[in-house]
Structures are given as C-alpha cells and as structure tokens.
Amino acid sequence: MTEAGPTPPAVETRGLERIYRIKPRPVTALAGVDVRVEPGEFFGLLGPNGAGKTTLIKILTTLLLPTSGSARVFGFDVVSETKQIRRIMNMVAGGEQSGYGILTTREQLWMFSQFYGLGTREGWRRVDELVELVGLTEQREQRVSTLSTGQRQKLNVARGLLNDPWILFLDEPTLGLDVGAARAVRELMTAWRAAVPGRTILLTTHYMAEADELCERIAIVDRGRILAIGTPAELKRRVQRESIFRLEVDRLAAGARALAPLPGVVSAVPASEADTGREAAGRGTVAITLVLRDDAALGGVVGALGELGARIVALRKSEPTLEDVFVELVGRGFEDEAEGDGARPPMPGAEPAAPGPSHTTHPHEPGEPSDEPLAT
C-alpha cells in the first residue's frame, strides 16, 4: 500500500484455497474463494456450519496460512505482511469462554492495549472509554472469571475495539448469547462502524436475520465456495420470481422430502427454527418452506398432502428470506446441514418469525378449499 495511492480494498482474495490435511482424508474448507470488500463496508459471510466462514476469517486475521491463492487486507498480503495487518485489524469470536479469569475487566483490557502498542496512559484512557461504551462500568473491577457469558462477550468486543482497527473481523459474535446481550453486541457494532466513515466490518454468521439486519452486502458461502454476493435486497430478488409458502402440516411422516418431486415445486425443505420451525416442533407438526414455480402449483401440493394423509395446520405466503436464497442456490436448507449436530439455535435477539408480508390460512384438511385468498 502506498501512502499517496488510492485506498486498496479492505479485503481481496483471489482463488483462495484451504485444505486441512487430516485423517482419514483431506478436507477442503475453502475451494477457490474470490471476494472483495470495500473500505467502509459492513460485509457478511453467511453460511451453515462447516461452510468455510471461520477458515476465511482465520486466514484474513493471519492465524492460518492458505493452501493456495492470495488474500490481502488493505493491500497487505496475509502470508508475508502479517505485521502490517495486525496493526490495523482486530477480531472478535463468539461462542467461547475465553479470558484471563484471574484479571479484572480493566486489567485484561489494559494488558491487550499494551500488546496493541498503546502507551500506558493512553491505554488506561481507552480502556475506561470502552468499558463504559460496552456497558461494563459496574464490572470494571470484577474478575473476568466472575463475568457472565454476555459480559465476557462484551469484554471481548471491547478488546476488539482497543486498537481502533480499520477492519474488524467478527466470527459469529452473538453465538450463545441471550436476546439482550446479542442485541447489545449488534448495536455496538453498528454504532462503532457508523461513528467513523471507513471503518470496515467483516461478519460471519449463520443467523440469516443477523446478516440481513446488519450487512450492506452478503456473500452466501457453502462448502468452501461463494455462491452469490450482493445486497440483501439483490439476493432476495433472485428468488422473487417464485412463490414461497410456509406450510405447517401434521401427519406427514416423510417430511418435506415428500413434496419435492411434485409438479411445480422448486424446493421443499424443513423451515428453519428461527422461522416457524421451532413452534411447529413444539406442536409436533412439520414446518416446511415450499418454493413453487407459481401459485397455481399449490393446488397440486394440497391435493398430494391429502393423498398422503397429512393435515394442513397452517399455510402462508411470504416474501423471500436469505434462507430462501440459500435454498435456491444450494438446493437444501441450513437445517439439513446441521443434521447430526443438533438443531441450529435460533438467532439470539431475533424477533419471532417475521418473514415479511404473509397470508395465513386457517387450519384445514388437505383438499379442503380455503376461504382466504393465497396470492398477495
């Protein structure tokens, strides 16, 4: 990077590959990723567990070497110019209980301020400023080991802001947090970036609503590849041409799979927990996200459900979500990926299923005509 030249991209990767040489066979975490994030962007990497998001963050934060390809942060190479990158970036990961438990909140932050090269006095000033900013004033002299999960994550966020980074990498920052703590972290991040133009954030998440709420642009990642990049609105427009329904049915043993081969059905996958799946699970029914070529195909689906002996509990038409985009791109939902891992937790702090304007039918048996119009 030259001093006089134009500012290079905040992140630029070309053909980035990362293969883990593990037994019994190597695992490809990144399979040729090309991505460009501009300075000042709030950029999201959205994908299920194991998509390669964290691997990408690790490479960009100089924690891991790529197998091939190149990655640059503000023009600095992640392999050969790590010192420069480390001076201008910081990272915050979620879902972990990290911290020097024996130190107090202030001591831990001050210690990192010294590792980041701040002077003693400047370090304390910055620490006190951030302690207040993240709302840990009452816990400032409390040992880290006594902080709650949410407070530890706030402390982690404060550490991430200590060196006033040009680029902040957030790896699932709200994972495992309760509603209030997750919302506080998201608000903090938004406010921090907005305070100074040019501050860049790269967020990885598998919470679609979080990506939708925070990010200006999103890359949808799966199995080490970027499938699509765009603003949330642009991505959603990709599936706008199809009709999307949230369907809740009872007595459908085969689940969503039974509907996939029907005429006019683009895809039929279990709905995410964040989106109605959890309520359905509570009622012992199956929630399905149904993407149809057009509304006319719905009659066939309803008829087929009747033949299968299933009962429709609820049906509503909705605007596409990022999950619909993912389903369209990959042919499966996030939940499918999480199978065997346990269900994916809902996004903390998210409002209950609000997938946009919808129309819901009253429960009725398959084949029974609905009194309400379905088309929007």
Partner: protein
Amino acid sequence: MSRTAVSGSAMSEAVALDPGRLRGRPVRDAWRSFATAARLGWQMEANWTDPLLFFIYSVAKPVAAALILVVMIEVIGGSAGRGLRAFVVVGSALWSFVVSGMAGLAWSVLDDRERYRMLKYVYVSPSAFGIVLLGRGMARLAIGAMGAAITLAVGVAFLGVPLDLARVDWPLLAVAMPLGLVAIVALGAMLAAVCLQTRQESWSYPEAAAGALFLVVGAVFPLHVLPAMAQAAGLLTPLTWWLEGVRQALVPGSASAIGGDGSLWAELSGHATPGGIEITAALLATSALVTLVAATVFRLSERRAKDRGLIDRTSGS
C-alpha cells in the same frame, strides 16, 4: 485521520488510513509487550488462593528435593558422602531454577491455549509472539530463582554448604549466570515449540525433558560415572557448563562434575578439571548453539502451527 474519497467504494466518502499506524516502534513495542507479558505471568503465578500452596510449590519442593538427595548420600555413603553434600545441594538448587525456566515458556503456550483460550488473540496482536512468551516465562523463572536461593540458604545454614561470600568468584558468576539464563530460556523456547504442535495437554513435557537432561548434566552426580556417550552428550549441553561454572563460582575448589579420573573431559583435554576460562568458553559456545537451534525450531514450529491451524486448536476441539 483525514478524509478522502474512495473510488468504487460502497461508501461515497471514507476516512483515509493513517499510514503512520503501520510502522510501529519496534524496540519500544517489544519492551512494552515483554513487560506486560511478564506482569501477566507474575499475576498468574502469584494468584495463589492459598499462600501455603505457593510456599510448597516454590520453596518447599526444591528444599525437599535437596534434602532427599542429602539423606540418600548420608545413608549410602556415610561419612564418606559428606564431601559431596555441597555438590548435591548446589546442583539441586540450581536444577529447580532450570526446570522452572524451561517450563515457563512451554506452560505459557498451554495456559493461553487450553485454559484461558486467549492464545489466538495474543498471536494476532502486533506484539512479537516470541517476546510475549518470553515475558510470560519470566515469572516462573523468578519463582525458580527464589526457590534456588532459599534452597542454597538452607544448605548453608543447616547442611554445611561452605559458601563464603568473600571467596565467591564473582567474575565467573557474573558471566555464567546470564549465559546460563540464555541457554535455559532457549531450551524453554524449544519446549514451547513442541507444545505448540501438540493437540493434547502436554503439561508434563517440560518436566520430562528436564528429567532426561538431569541425567547428563552433572546436577547431583559427576559425569564420569556415566558411559562415554552420555558424558559426550553432557559436554554438549550448556546446562552442564552452567552448573559447573556456578558451582565453581559459589564454592571455589569444590568437586567438579565434568572432570575427574576416568572422565571424558580428562581424556580429551589432558587435564583433570576445566578452569574458569574453559568453562566460560564452553558455556558461551554451547549456549550460542542451543539459542540458534531454538530460534530455528521455534520459527519452524510457529510456521507449521499456522499451516496446520494449531494456534487456536484446543485439546477439546
């Protein structure tokens, strides 16, 4: 930061990056990192909920180790073994310092990765990783030094170690101590490099490595009782020369761990025991060699850990 337009950016106007922040101040930053890490290390080491535990670990353990050896010599050698008392007490005291120094760096890696899960954050900070580890290791080294000093004091007060401050060879001590310290830290860095590669909790590695070295460095028995190959290994180890140097400096004329009848040293050099200059030269050469090897091993280990994704990989992951 000044304002400037960023062409093609998602933002119409963004703050320019301050190139001054990229430069850093190498010496000041390194010192700051070292001092902070040392302070953190001390806070961890001194974080005893029970002062009795601290006393047992840092003082009673080395004193007890020395006493056990003295009693063993008494039982086996009777009055003939009394001449070896100073040899054993001084060697044993210094060895506790060696073990603490070697373990300090390695345990810092394990502490930060396994217990506190902060290694990745420390690693991606602008501070040099090696400097931070060095600072963290200093606390354990200080505790080891304290234990060694107390063991020596017990030896002088109760076990008849003939330490006379007027007779101490201060120049030899002044040269041997820093050189030995460098060698101990270098060995610790090698162990830290090994721990960086392990995915299991390798807390016992430093003591295992120290135990293996204990056999060949003449800490509590002279080298000439060992086979020639083991003696050769001992002569290539800086710790052997450091122990010999400090022992000869503290108690001039005491029995040599290196020389003596039938020793490899006597065979190779043609005279019975090494003098101060020979000890210093050998200590300098072996310390330099070990430091060079340690720096290379550490760098390779760091590179490999980064390549394999081991920096933040805990034993539970």
